[in-house]
């Protein structure tokens, strides 16, 4: 098991390396210049600008700059934000927990919706329940998150006045009131993301269960007198989950897309909204770092999916 994890980690390295190369190439190919401000400032003579460029190595060839950028990234020196003058690493670590909390709860909600509904509609395909569930799933994943978010704000905050529509990290209350405030403000963003995920996953679960349900071993399980519940949970769902895990892993980049948008709508202080505000403020080091962090998260979650895969399907041996 541990050898398998190590081997997977080793395979991860070239992928992260490739991602860093892609990101750096985009940055290097881009027109634009971090010292553009100085160029338009009449108080700065051109020689000073040239010296600064040479000092920061901007005139070196691209491969040299790439190696230098990569080594400092590996050493943990990610530079500092042009705007807030804070270390990029500190800035991202401040924001990351909030993002992961909202994303994680949304994903959990999605699974809690998708697993029972998907399984149940596959057990009775083309029944009324199945048709209603499939229709709702279709509507759910055709509704873009930015629109559901706005509609939720319109209904639950502005019309009914039940929930706050601005997410605050600094809540003054203590004790259970603090927990209550946190839960209340998280309901809408988590619901928007979770319902979208749930709709997508329901379709995956349904078709995966349908693939399994007619196989002989399920009939065998029934024939030997196992109750319907035990058959479904232990034999059908467990095996149906194997392709679902892969699909969930493939969905992860899409989840981040939803996260950036929900964070923007509900003003959640996570890394998604940090990305948008950095782009609007031309804060290149932060933008690069966040894109890189997002890519690394995708790779890490793919690894988790691979490990889960092995646990669900013992035929895949850890070697």
């Amino acid at each position: 098991m541990s050898r398998y994890v190590v081997r997977r980690l080793v395979i991860m390295i070239p992928v992260i390396f490739g991602i860093s190369l892609v990101l750096f190439m985009i940055l290097a190919l881009a027109p634009g210049d971090p010292f553009e401000e100085l160029a338009t400032n009449p108080n700065v003579p051109p020689e000073v600008r040239m010296n600064l460029r040479a000092q920061f190595g901007l005139d070196d060839p691209v491969p040299v700059r790439y190696v230098r950028w990569l080594t400092s990234m590996v050493r943990g020196d990610w530079g500092f934000s042009f705007v807030s003058r804070v270390d990029v690493v500190t800035l991202i670590l401040q924001r990351l927990p909030t993002s992961l909390f909202v994303l994680g709860s949304a994903q959990l909600l999605g699974l809690l919706i998708a697993l029972p509904i998907g399984t149940f509609s596959a057990l009775r395909p083309y029944s009324i329940f199945d048709q209603v569930a499939t229709t709702f799933a279709f509507i759910g994943f055709s509704l873009p998150t930015f629109f559901t978010g706005l509609v939720f704000i319109l209904v639950f905050s502005l019309t009914l006045d039940w929930l706050p529509f601005i997410y605050r990290a600094d809540i003054a209350d203590t004790g259970w009131r603090w927990w209550w405030q946190h839960a209340r403000q998280a309901i809408m963003p988590v619901a928007v993301l979770g319902l979208f995920q749930g709709a997508t996953l329901t379709r995956f679960v349904r078709s995966a269960v349908l693939d399994v349900i007619r196989l002989d071993y399920v009939n065998t399980a029934r024939a030997k007198g196992l109750s319907e519940g035990a058959t479904v949970v232990k034999h059908v769902v467990r095996n149906a989950l194997i392709p679902v895990v892969t699909l969930v892993a493939l969905q992860i980049p899409a989840i981040f897309t939803g996260a950036v948008i929900t964070e923007q709508i509900f003003r959640i202080p996570g890394i998604g909204s940090l990305l948008i505000s950095s782009i609007l403020a031309n804060d290149t080091p932060v933008i690069m770092a966040i894109t890189f962090v997002f890519s690394c998260l995708v790779v890490i979650f793919n690894l988790v999916a691979d490990l889960l895969y092995g646990w669900l399907d013992p035929r895949i041996s850890y070697r």
Binding site: I19, P144, F146, L150, L158, I279, N282, T291, F294, V298
Partner: protein, 311 residues
């Protein structure tokens, strides 16, 4: 001579008597009721944005402060925005761009995906390996953050070269397509791997058909079904991607009111002008829903093996 030509007419007659593959597919598509409903809705949307601006001749940028933030009325069927501009006119105009982005991005991503998949599947070996690693790499890139990064870095340069409207259009289409071709490439490769070993391809090969002819005439037409399905879903995904970008304020500028851009402008006025956000949002939703149902219908029509043993 006469021996060689004799059986041909009867073969032809039999071929035309049997319903053709496409007619059969159309028949199956028509039986999918929701797909037909989606098709009708989408068609009327397309007609509306193509013909609409010629019929409904209200300018999209006529500012009228006396009529600002008004709900639907006779003068403004869908109401007005904060500058008193007519929303129906803006949505008809913006819808053209939203739909055009979707279709253009789909065409490009399918072309790239099919080319990559065909090369990987047909040539095999090192080419296959390299192309598939590249596909995996692209699959693990987070789409929206990267889109935002590229838009941020290249926006001004392209604006200078191609002008504000065309520059942003080209960039957004290229970037969306460049990040969406991977599923098609995988699909096409898988199809190629199984099709190139089939008897009819072997027959073509043994008759001396060069590789290109084998691919273009024999393998590709048979691999097209799933590609069409994936392509239809890609249109929806591209429309959502463009709307997301515009919704974040990083897509089209305010003078090009795509549906996502109208939503972005509307989102801070939700409390006094909800109609401003609801109309473009519904338009995006209906379009995407129709396209997804059409994709579902196409899957039933073109990929009969996927249909359950039912009916």
């Amino acid at each position: 001579m006469s021996i060689a030509t004799a059986p041909a007419p009867s073969l032809l007659a039999r071929a035309s008597a049997r319903p053709s593959l496409w007619r059969e597919a159309t028949r199956r598509f028509r039986r999918h009721r929701l797909a037909m409903v989606g098709f009708v809705i989408l068609l009327s949307m397309v007609m509306a944005v193509v013909v609409g601006p010629f019929v409904y001749r209200v300018p999209i940028d006529e500012i009228d402060f006396r009529a600002k933030l008004k709900g639907p009325s006779r003068a403004h069927p869908l109401g007005t925005d904060d500058l008193g501009q007519d929303l129906l006119a803006r949505m008809l105009y913006g819808g053209r761009i939203s739909l055009a982005v979707g279709v253009a991005a789909m065409l490009i991503s399918i072309t790239i995906g099919t080319t990559v998949g065909a090369m990987a599947g047909q040539l095999g070996g090192a080419v296959d390996h390299t192309l598939m690693r590249l596909t995996d790499l692209f699959l693990s890139l987070p789409q929206l953050p990267l889109l935002l990064l590229i838009v941020y870095l290249f926006r001004d340069a392209l604006k200078k070269v191609l002008g504000p409207e065309a520059g942003i259009f080209v960039m957004i289409v290229a970037v969306i397509a460049g990040l969406r071709w991977m599923p098609v490439a995988r699909l096409v490769r898988a199809q190629f791997l199984s099709l190139r070993e089939k008897e009819f391809v072997e027959a073509a090969r043994s008759l001396g058909a060069p590789t290109l002819r084998q691919v273009v005439r024999h393998i590709l037409p048979n691999a097209l079904g799933p590609v069409i399905v994936a392509g239809s879903l890609d249109v929806a995904a591209a429309i959502i991607a463009e709307s997301s970008l515009s919704f974040l304020g990083l897509g089209f500028p305010p003078d090009i009111p795509t549906w996502g851009r109208i939503l972005y402008d509307a989102k801070d006025n939700l409390d006094f002008a909800p109609h401003w956000a609801l109309f473009p949002g519904t338009a995006i939703f209906l379009t995407v829903l129709s396209i997804n149902y059409i994709g579902d219908g196409l899957r039933d029509a073109l990929d009969p093996r996927k249909v359950l043993g039912h009916k």
